[in-house]
């Protein structure tokens, strides 16, 4: 048949098309009840199972989970099993053993963490400073006409502690860094956890109410309040807050969450606005669902994934923010150290001289690993919970 051809001559042809008679019997009724007999071999995957399987395929995320679990375990176990006290300086023969370098059994044979310090002294004072078997000369040089020697001193031997092992050494007043470090990690983790918890609790309730009544006067007022809060520099609020509060885990977490929940609230509101007019919510409304049921069964479950992602990103933020607060002097007190206060303290002893730099490096490395792994996990969670958001 050529009636559809554009050519003019062909169109003339269309007039001679055969009559096709269409009878009713030619048609077959389309069956209404056709059950697709598909094989129902495997159990249906729930949303969370599916996300979990996807997360397992992400090597970075799995590695991060292992590292985080290890850190959490250490944060719980290490301070409890350590033979040194958190705040009491270690003393030997009535003298405090301060500034001891790190020393770890077995690892010391490899030349690291072997309980030695690199120090600089003059040729003249070498004999008075050290016994002959307490040092090893690394380098000799002359500066401004004075002969200097760089020595590696066997600190543990000098202090008469050959049988002791302070894994990460001691600080300037003789407290065991290993104990304090893991205790600090515990505090930092708790602050991160509490801050995320407060963020989510306030953010979901606040954003949920604003979103559910989106477009109304109430929503308007609530969102203007968040904008005002957002506009106030949080550092100022913190300084005022700590004039009244003793710094502790909860006050610091509250201080961090003071503005942290705004992001969560905005996200939840936006999602609620999007979901509120979706047909499945309308369907529930035509069935007579109460606002409570709508929120709990239809809106929240569709936002949980994003909430989890936001919360997991806010943990490292809170940890870092706490470290920053400690650094500017309004963090945890010295008796309950966090990673931030430890870094702040160590910086005092490290200034100018690199001799005791281990006191600074160790908490910094632990902080970095912790933040990196939580961030990687959060990234993995985002990818597995919301495949459309997958980063490159």
């Amino acid at each position: 048949m050529s009636w559809f051809k554009k050519n003019k001559n062909d169109i003339v042809e269309t007039n001679v098309i055969e009559e096709v008679e269409v009878k009713k019997e030619d048609f077959v009724f389309e069956k209404a009840s056709v059950v697709e007999a598909e094989g129902l071999m495997k159990k249906p995957l729930t949303f969370w199972k599916d996300a979990f399987l996807r997360l397992l395929q992400n090597k970075f995320a799995v590695g991060s989970v292992i590292v985080i679990l290890l850190m959490v375990t250490m944060a719980i176990v290490a301070p409890m099993t350590s033979k040194y006290d958190l705040n009491k300086a270690v003393s030997k023969n009535q003298t405090l053993v301060t500034q001891l370098p790190p020393r770890i059994p077995f690892v010391e044979n490899l030349g690291i963490f072997d309980g030695t310090l690199i120090k600089e002294t003059t040729e003249a004072r070498l004999a008075t400073d050290y016994q002959p078997d307490e040092y090893k000369i690394i380098d000799r040089y002359t500066r401004d006409g004075v002969d200097y020697v760089k020595v590696k001193e066997y600190t543990y031997k000098i202090k008469g502690l050959e049988n002791e092992y302070f894994y990460f050494g001691t600080d300037q007043i003789g407290r065991d860094i290993w104990t304090r470090l893991w205790y600090g990690a515990r505090i930092s983790l708790l602050i991160g956890f509490y801050a995320a918890l407060i963020d989510v609790l306030i953010g979901v309730v606040y954003g949920g109410i604003a979103g559910f009544y989106g477009g109304s006067r109430l929503d308007d007022i609530m969102m203007r309040i968040t904008e005002i809060l957002y506009g106030i520099p949080s550092i100022v609020i913190l300084f005022i807050l700590f004039m009244f509060l003793e710094p502790g885990i909860v006050p610091i977490a509250i201080a961090i969450a003071l503005t942290g929940w705004i992001g969560v609230a905005r996200m939840v509101r936006a999602q609620f606005l999007r979901l509120r007019d979706q047909e499945f919510v309308l369907a529930a409304r035509t069935l007579g669902a109460s606002p409570f049921r709508l929120i709990m069964k239809h809106l929240i479950p569709n936002v949980v994934a994003q909430i989890v992602v936001m919360a997991s990103f806010s943990i490292p933020n809170a940890i870092f923010y706490e470290a920053f607060l400690a650094f500017i002097g309004i963090g945890m007190n010295v008796k309950t150290p966090s990673l931030g206060t430890m870094i702040d303290n160590a910086l005092g002893t490290t200034y100018g001289a690199m001799t005791y730099v281990y006191q600074l490096i160790i908490p910094c490395v632990v902080l970095s690993i912790l933040m990196l792994s939580i961030n990687l996990l959060a990234n993995g969670l985002r990818d597995s919970l919301d495949p459309r958001m997958r980063g490159n």
Binding site: W3, F4, T14, I17, F29, E30, K31, A32, S33, V34, V35, E36, L40, K43, P44, L45, T46, F47, Q278, E279, F280, L282, A283, A284, R285, T286, L287, G288, A289, R293, K297, H298, P301, N302
Partner: protein, 315 residues
């Protein structure tokens, strides 16, 4: 056949405020009645307010003015808790988008059982399951599907789930808001035939909103044509297709493609010019030009239409 009015829509208006000055008159003074057991088709172009009427009737919007009377009860404005429960049980809706109308986080069983849970229809968990399985089979799915999630189904299957959800409370009136326009043609006929079967079996009444004119003709008993928030013509299905009077209806009908190359070749599309009506002094209203055939016109047009009716054949 005795005609019982199930739903009476009486001069409803649905205006939306854009800002302080502008309002959108999505539905402007529309009245009609739906009889028990019939399928009432509502057609019109995009933005003519068909969906808005459906949603206003089922109380998703607070209507600006007018009354809706359902089964003898006024259901607009503030109503008692019992009446609200009566409406939500007896009036249900089937939605357009099979992708968006099912909650992706709920299993099919929970989606369908939502009406049971809200109205506490089942006393035990077994009874709840039993009801869900029964309705699943009724819409052409099997009970193995109950534990699955919406994303595992095709569009047609999802629409069946949506139908099952609407029917679980045993409603009297089902508002079908373009239930087939998002499906491909072969599935469309499946779903429409399913709706017809269910209507015969359960004695349902449909308000069928669509823009596919041939499908509406197939399923509807009476058809109302909407344009810009107003009803322009209302007639029994065959009557409307054969003896359309209003120029807008004629324009719509002229746009239906025919599965026949020869008549398709000579088909002429009529454009509708709303300005051709002169409603300056002579105000229009809905008038019955012959039994059961209503048209929106003023006195002068009414006379012209009457002349036209005289030339038409009876259906």
């Amino acid at each position: 056949m005795e005609k019982n009015v199930l739903l009476k829509v009486d001069h409803i208006k649905q205006y939306f405020k854009l800002d302080k000055k502008n309002i959108v008159k999505a539905v402007d003074d529309v009245s009609f009645e739906i009889y028990q057991g019939e399928t009432f088709g509502l057609v019109g172009e995009s933005g003519s307010g068909k969906t808005t009427i459906g949603r206003s009737i089922i109380r998703l919007y607070n209507i600006t003015d007018g009354d809706v009377v359902f089964d003898g009860k006024k259901i607009t404005g503030k109503i008692s808790k019992e009446d609200r429960s009566f409406v939500t049980r007896n009036m249900q809706m089937i939605f357009q988008d099979p992708m968006a109308c099912l909650n992706p986080r709920m299993s099919v069983k929970d989606i369908i059982a939502e009406g049971i849970d809200i109205h506490k229809i089942a006393k035990t968990k077994e009874e709840r399951d039993e009801l869900v399985y029964k309705i699943l089979e009724k819409v052409g799915l099997s009970k193995e599907h109950a534990g699955r999630y919406p994303h595992e189904f095709s569009g047609g299957q999802r629409q069946r789930i949506g139908i099952a959800r609407a029917l679980i409370t045993n409603p009297k009136l089902v508002i079908c808001d373009e239930p087939i326009s998002a499906l491909d043609v072969s599935i469309q006929s499946q779903v429409v035939n399913l709706l017809k079967e269910l209507q015969a079996e359960l004695g349902l009444t449909y308000l069928f909103i669509a823009h596919d004119l041939s499908m509406v003709r197939y399923i509807s008993d009476r058809i109302a044509v909407m344009h810009k928030g107003k009803l322009v013509e209302l007639a029994p299905a065959e009557e409307l297709y054969v003896n359309a009077l209003h120029p807008y209806t004629k324009s719509l009908l002229s746009a239906i493609p025919k599965p026949d190359p020869r008549s398709e070749k000579v088909r002429v599309r009529h454009d509708y010019e709303p300005n051709e009506h002169d409603y300056e002094n002579d105000k229009p209203s809905m008038r019955e030009i012959k039994p059961n055939h209503f048209i929106y016109c003023n006195d002068q047009e009414f006379e012209e239409y009457k002349k036209e009716v005289a030339t038409q054949h009876e259906v």
